[in-house]
């Protein structure tokens, strides 16, 4: 059964109060309630009477929530600027991860495969781990970022629109990203690594890219979808 403090937590999170402020407020309220309960019991009330008297003295949920919500400085960034937290920040993080992955590919190519025209060749020894690290960053980061969006949205009880935008953008970028590497003539023999974001030159390629986008979206959005369904079920119950 939900306690009054549970419903206060939900109300504060939905109003955009940052989870760490909610956690601290509720911890102090729980301690305070416990002191009030002890005081009322000491005054001779029964356990049940002491509990209800303590709750009355603590304050109505409306008052307790309003006192916190009216302090704008306790609002989370997800509430203040959801567009930045759910779309811009994930895309910047993804760009940074892709940059690191490309840097690993380029440096590994120069150091470990100096004579090769492309870094996309079978490798062995240390090169397996080095290129493997870059590949892991390239493939795992979009999923980690997507799950980060889900976690943030769930923790902050965010409305669906901005997290959904963030997930779709992340899936689009991850699903259409292509890494190119080549050693152009007249460039001093130094290989170049670059990235492009495209659906593809032909219809089958476009279909392949779109199915890749859909697969990434499903993978990163599924936890949040499951959480929302489970939450809707528990609220309606």
């Amino acid at each position: 059964m939900a306690t009054p403090l549970d419903s206060l937590r939900e109300r504060l999170l939905r109003a955009g109060v940052a989870p760490r402020h909610v956690r601290r407020y509720l911890t102090e309220l729980a301690d305070h309630l416990s002191d009030l309960r002890a005081e009322e019991e000491h005054a001779g009330r029964s356990k049940a009477d002491a509990e209800s008297a303590a709750l009355v003295r603590l304050g109505r949920i409306d008052d307790l929530s309003r006192a916190m919500i009216c302090q704008r400085q306790f609002q989370s960034w997800c509430a203040r600027a959801p567009w930045a937290m759910f779309t811009v920040a994930p895309l910047l993080a993804l760009a940074a991860a892709y940059f690191v992955a490309c840097l690993i590919l380029w440096s590994g190519w120069r150091i470990l495969l100096p004579g090769s025209d492309t870094p996309f060749v079978p490798v062995d020894g240390l090169a397996v781990y080095y290129f493997g690290l870059g590949r892991m960053i390239y493939y795992v980061t979009p999923v980690a970022i997507g799950w980060g969006i889900c976690l943030l949205a769930a923790r902050q009880r965010s409305k669906a629109a901005w997290p959904a935008c963030g997930l779709i953008l992340t899936a689009l970028v991850a699903g259409t990203a292509r890494v190119h590497a080549g050693r152009p003539a007249g460039f001093g023999g130094i290989g170049r690594v670059g990235m492009s974001f495209e659906l593809g030159p032909s219809l089958p390629a476009v279909a392949g890219s779109l199915s890749h986008v859909a697969a990434v979206l499903l993978l990163i959005g599924l936890p949040w979808l499951a959480w929302r369904i489970q939450r809707a079920g528990s609220l309606s119950a």
Binding site: Y25, E28, D31, L58, G59, D63, A67
Partner: protein, 133 residues
């Protein structure tokens, strides 16, 4: 009054209508004054306010925490977690900035209270007449 009630602070005296800015800073003033005498945790603060004001200022007990958190965030208070009697509590203490703020708030409040007292006792009525004529 809206401001104070948003902080859960109610006055036992009957008030029909009040300028919200009129009593701004009262919760901060009371809390800073109490904590200047020593560190306390939320429950202690509320009980002290109640006992020292003869229950005239009755704080909706839980709403003292947002005020404490704001003061801490603004640097007027510092907090530390301590375990006393097997229970972990967050104790608050006034910082030098809080002491300066208390001085300012006290002066403002004293001026306000003195002005109201003068008015209630009928002083400076000549001035009031001059203003209205």
């Amino acid at each position: 009054m809206i401001y104070l009630e948003s902080l859960g602070i109610k006055f036992a005296v009957a008030t029909r209508e009040t300028n919200p800015n009129f009593m701004n800073g009262v919760p901060e003033l009371l809390i800073l004054r109490l904590l200047q005498q020593g560190e306390m945790y939320g429950y202690e603060i509320v009980q002290e306010i109640r006992s020292r004001t003869g229950s005239v200022v009755a704080v909706g007990e839980g709403v003292v925490y947002p005020v404490l958190h704001v003061l801490e965030r603004e640097g007027a208070l510092a907090s530390k977690r301590r375990t006393v009697g097997g229970r972990s509590r967050i104790y608050y203490v006034v910082t030098p900035l809080g002491t300066r703020r208390l001085t300012v708030l006290s002066e403002t409040w004293n001026q306000l209270a003195a002005a109201i007292q003068r008015l209630l006792k009928g002083g400076n009525l000549g001035d009031a007449t001059r203003f209205s004529s």
